[in-house]
Amino acid sequence: MRDRGMIIAGLLVFLALVTFPVWYDLAAGTTSKGPDPKLPTQEKDCVAPVEYMRTSHMDLLMTWRQDVVREGMRDYVAFDGKTYTMGLTKTCLKCHDKKEFCDRCHNYAGVTPYCWECHVDPKLAQRSKG
C-alpha cells in the first residue's frame, strides 16, 4: 500500500473534475434560477388556461397554423367564449414580449423553435425602422 497517497490524490482530482459543472453552476449562482418569463401586464386572460399553455402552446400554434393557412379560418373561440384572431405575431405577441417571454423559457429549455426565422417580432420591426 505504498501508493495510497497517489490513489487518494488521483481520486480527488477525478471527483473534482467530474463534479466541476455542479461547482461551476453554484459559483455562478445560476442553479436555482428559473427561466423567469416576464408576464404581460395589460391582459389577464390568455387564449387557453395557463396549465394548457405551459405544456401545449406549441400544439395550439400548430393547429392555428393549419387552420389559418390551409383552411382559411381566422377566428379562434377560446375556452372562455372569447374570440381571438389566430396569429402568432398579431395575437400572441400583442401581449407577450418575444425577448422577455418566449425566449427566456426557450433558452432555459434549450429549444430553438424556428417560428422566428419567418415570423417577425413587431418590436424588432420597430427598431429596424427607428
Binding site: R65, V69, R70, G72, R74, T89, K90, Y114, E117, C118, H119, V120, D121, P122, L124, A125, S128, K129
Partner: protein, 256 residues
C-alpha cells in the same frame, strides 16, 4: 408450389377486374361527396384580376403596385438578378405574350412593360408537381402556398410556365427594406410567389397591388358572379391571357 400459365393468367385477370371495379366505385363515391362539400363555396367565388394595359401604361415608370406588394409581403431585394424574388413584376410585351404577336403589332405595344404576377391558374401545374402539397388550389381559385411545408425542391418553379415563382437562395431578412410585422418573411430555402393577398381578402380588403394602382388599371373581382366588375370588363373588351395554349387556364386577363 408451381402454378400453370393458365391458372396464373386467370388469377391475374380476376385481380385486375376487382381493382378496376374498386377504383370505379371509389371514384363514384368521391365525386359524390366532393360535390356535396365544395359545391356551394366553389359556385360562389372565383377570384381573378383584369388588367387594362392602356391605363397601366399611362403613368410612365410607375411601380406603385410593385412597391405596395413589396411592403405588404416583406419581399427582399437582391442586387444580383439571379437571386431575384418577385411576386409582381414588369416584362416587355413580346416576352409576356410571345405567342400572340405579329410583325405589324401596334407600335404602342412593342417593348411596353406589362404587369405580370402569378396567374392563379385553374389547372395549376405547380400544384400537380409539389411533392409535399405545400402549394394547392383553394376553392376560391387562389393558388396558395404553405411555406411551413415547402422543402425547397423547386419542382413548382420548373413546372410554372410563367416564371411566377422565386426561390430564396439566401436569408431574405437582411434584404428587406421595410419590415412589415403583420406578414411573415420567408426563410432561406423556400419558394415564394403571389398569394393574391389572401390575408387582405380575409379582412375584406382588395389585393395590395389593385388598391395601390393610381390609374385603377387593375380590377379584382369574382368571376363566378355575372354582375361583377371583372365579368363586365370581360364582356365589353377583348382580353388576352398569358400562354393559354398550355391549358393552365390562367385567371389574370389583359385588355390590350
Amino acid at each position: 408450389m408451381s402454378i400453370s400459365r393458365r391458372k396464373f393468367l386467370g388469377v391475374a385477370g380476376a385481380a385486375s377486374a376487382l381493382a378496376i371495379a374498386g377504383k370505379t366505385s371509389i371514384d363514384a363515391l368521391a365525386s359524390g361527396s366532393s360535390t356535396k362539400a365544395g359545391g356551394g363555396a366553389a359556385a360562389a367565388t372565383r377570384w381573378a384580376i383584369v388588367i387594362d394595359s392602356s391605363k397601366c401604361l399611362k403613368k410612365e415608370g410607375c411601380k406603385d403596385c410593385i412597391l405596395a406588394c413589396d411592403k405588404a409581403h416583406n419581399i427582399p431585394r437582391f442586387d444580383d438578378p439571379k437571386h431575384e424574388v418577385k411576386w409582381i413584376w414588369k416584362e416587355p410585351y413580346e416576352d409576356a405574350f410571345p405567342e400572340q404577336q405579329n410583325p405589324y403589332d401596334d407600335a404602342n405595344l412593342k417593348g411596353e412593360p406589362f404587369i405580370l404576377l402569378c396567374n392563379h391558374c385553374d389547372k395549376p401545374p405547380c400544384v400537380r408537381v409539389c411533392p409535399t402539397q405545400a402549394t394547392w388550389k383553394r376553392e376560391d381559385g387562389i393558388v396558395m402556398m404553405d411555406w411551413h411545408r415547402c422543402i425547397g425542391c423547386r419542382y413548382c418553379m420548373a413546372a410554372c410556365p410563367y416564371g411566377s415563382r422565386s426561390f430564396n437562395w439566401f436569408d431574405p431578412r437582411p434584404h428587406i427594406k421595410d419590415l412589415n410585422p403583420d406578414f411573415p418573411t420567408r426563410t432561406k430555402g423556400v419558394v415564394e410567389k403571389c398569394d393574391l393577398c389572401e390575408e387582405l381578402l380575409a379582412q375584406g380588403k382588395p389585393p395590395a397591388c389593385v388598391a395601390a394602382c393610381p390609374e385603377k388599371a387593375m380590377v379584382f373581382g369574382n368571376l363566378d358572379d355575372p354582375e361583377s366588375e371583372v365579368r363586365e370588363l370581360l364582356r365589353k373588351h377583348y382580353t388576352i391571357r398569358r400562354k393559354p395554349e398550355l391549358g393552365t387556364h390562367p385567371e389574370i386577363y389583359y385588355i390590350v
